[in-house]
């Protein structure tokens, strides 16, 4: 079970933020806009992460990751991190924006 720890954390982040999609206009409902916001930034951060791993600035405990990696030594979990966390942030921003609009209308 321990090997799934990092993936489970990321899954929990997605699950907890999913209900925020009820606020309009939504993030998943604007998939192309979300893609164009998330992917360019993820690419830069994946590059940074790769350099940091190669330079031994940080590493990942083998006990808590699946062992699936992308070149060069990057755990698949860390790649997913750069997709999941931005999505959670967009969902939060989407929800907060919708709530503030409602609040200001009162």
């Amino acid at each position: 079970m321990d090997h799934w720890q990092y993936l489970i954390v990321l899954g929990a982040c997605l699950a907890i933020t999913l209900p925020l999609e009820i606020f309009r206009p939504g993030v998943y409902r604007q998939a192309w806009r979300a893609t164009r916001a998330v992917l360019p930034v993820a690419a830069v951060f994946v590059l940074w992460d790769e350099v940091a791993i190669c330079a031994h600035v940080w590493r990942y405990s083998r006990a808590y990751i699946t062992g699936v990696t992308i070149p060069f030594q990057m755990p698949i979990e860390e790649v997913l991190f750069f997709l999941v966390i931005p999505l959670c942030a967009l969902l939060t921003y989407n929800a907060v924006s919708a709530m503030l609009v409602r609040f200001n209308r009162r």
């Binding site: 600035v57 405990s61 939060t92 924006s97």
Partner: protein, 103 residues
């Protein structure tokens, strides 16, 4: 604490995101209350998630202490992670906002 191979890039990332907004994108994101409220919520959840990932008792991510300031707060989170997270999330929100303006 010698190389600061995490601290220096983390500070540069925050500066780069600021420069991106103020010289190129000019979305006005930093003037939106929704942005700052969202960032507070994001930091709150970051402390939970990052606290779990970096806890020294059973860390998922292990840092070379020579590459950071060595300051870990709250829990065992290297403070550099907050700059890293700020840059990551803000950059994504900037690109999201930029697409609003094009419409």
């Amino acid at each position: 604490m010698s190389g600061l191979g995490y601290t220096v890039p983390a500070v540069l990332a925050v500066l780069a995101v600021g420069a991106l907004e103020f010289t190129a994108l000019r979305t006005g994101l930093f003037r939106r209350p929704a942005y700052w409220v969202s960032m507070l919520i994001v930091v709150g959840f970051q402390i939970l998630v990052d606290g779990w990932l970096t806890k020294l008792s059973a860390p998922v991510v292990v840092y070379d202490d020579r590459q950071t300031t060595g300051i870990r707060f709250p829990f065992d989170i290297p403070i550099e992670d907050f700059l890293f997270g700020f840059a990551l999330v803000t950059a994504v929100l900037l690109l999201w906002e930029r697409q609003r303006e094009r419409r």
